[in-house]
Point group: C2
Chain length 226, copies 2
DNA sequence: GTCTATAAAATGATAGAC
DNA sequence: GTCTATCATTTTATAGAC
């Protein structure tokens, strides 16, 4: 069975060009989104193992059959959830965030902000990791995991420099973004597992020092070539 | 339902002191282990979502009823799988590894060795992360995730110094171990998601530089106090 | 587009023969 | 201790009324 082809048969990818492809009405789009959000909520609440279509439908305030009217299968729904997460990332990407002017200080502020966010959204973070692993496991959906990570890297990367019109700076921004994401992913898992706030706080400080140093090195290398 | 109490009712925790508590015979222990290993294999092969008791039994070369003779529930079996992983870690902990004498070089060698291992055990790594998340989700099993992480930290930490009889050095070893584990966990996720070997290799080099710097800083701080 | 009702398959778990 | 056979639910998914 070709899962990629199947995914293209549910309401999610209905082509708007051919008249009115069931699911494209105002209300239809709303319901579809309600279901996606319901799935996210159910996932955050109970984890992957407890994530059944019934629970999702209930969480979305919709009957089971309605869920299947919008999504051919549980799998295509989960894919849609990941896509929704990506779209949200895209929105955040475009939002202005108040950050210090100096790149090194911006990196530090970014890490501190992320850390605060991570601490108060435990289930959301676990859910997101579960979804990423699901995508890595699901043949034909590995690209989604890649796109998700690239979105995060761009998100961090483009916040490092105020003006990222310089190609070389963008490259450096992405390198730092990759490294920051590595550190933050690692800290997410470890902080939830160990539940030792003192230790995690120390790790955050160490990450900040390391990231400042990394950025400084990359910029120094660049200056040498100018 | 008290899951911690339930877990104590299956063959895994049968008290050896009261005669012959079903499951403690030579063959029984072997079968129990076969089932656990079968579960690990099935998990690595198909992921958490496809992990059913039937699949586990098949993978272990055992009938479904036999699985339930040894484990009261799927949950208690999964817990046992995590415990098996921990025991394995304990074994690795005690094994001698050939490493350079200087601590900074040891850290570098450790990261390179881990990186090679991670690259050739993709499914194993994903499975382990899935299990950790499962433990974090399962009420009463969070401690297992904590113990797993502490085992890893000790593993890395005690390899940083050849002689870790000094309390202060052990503390530094653990700090570096925590940080290395953070970096390695992050790199696992990112490398599998992005599938960009060139980028991941660069990230590994950056991690090495960062870890060497971190260790150097911790040791310099310590020297100041002497 | 959403619902009620139900089919069809899968799943965790048990009873009881050997 | 391991098996065959089976139960009781649960789960994904569909048919068809409204």
């Amino acid at each position: 069975m070709n899962k990629a082809a199947d995914a293209a048969t549910d309401r999610s990818s209905a082509d708007a060009s051919r008249g009115r492809p069931a699911g494209a009405t105002r209300k239809g789009v709303e319901t579809r989104l309600r279901i996606i959000r319901g799935a996210r909520e159910a996932l955050e609440e109970g984890g992957m193992e407890a994530l059944t279509t019934r629970r999702i439908a209930a969480s979305a305030g919709v009957k089971l059959a309605t869920l299947h009217y919008y999504f051919d299968s549980k799998e295509s729904l989960l894919i849609a959830v990941l896509e929704d997460l990506l779209a949200e990332m895209d929105t955040a990407y475009r939002q202005e965030v108040a950050l210090p002017p100096a790149p090194e200080d911006r990196v530090e502020a970014l890490i501190r902000t992320s850390w605060r966010y991570i601490q108060r959204t435990r289930n959301k973070q676990i859910a997101q990791t579960e979804l990423t692993l699901y995508a890595l496991r699901t043949k034909g959906s590995e690209w989604l995991a890649a796109r998700q990570y690239n979105a995060y890297i761009d998100f961090y990367g483009h916040l490092v420099f105020e003006d990222d019109s310089d190609d070389e700076l963008r490259r450096i921004g992405r390198a730092v973004g990759r490294q920051m994401l590595i550190g933050i992913d690692g800290i997410i898992l470890q902080s939830y597992a160990l539940q030792d706030l003192t230790a995690s706080n120390a790790d955050i400080e160490a990450l900040i020092v390391a990231m400042r140093g990394y950025l400084r090195r990359l910029l120094a290398e660049r200056d040498k070539h100018l």
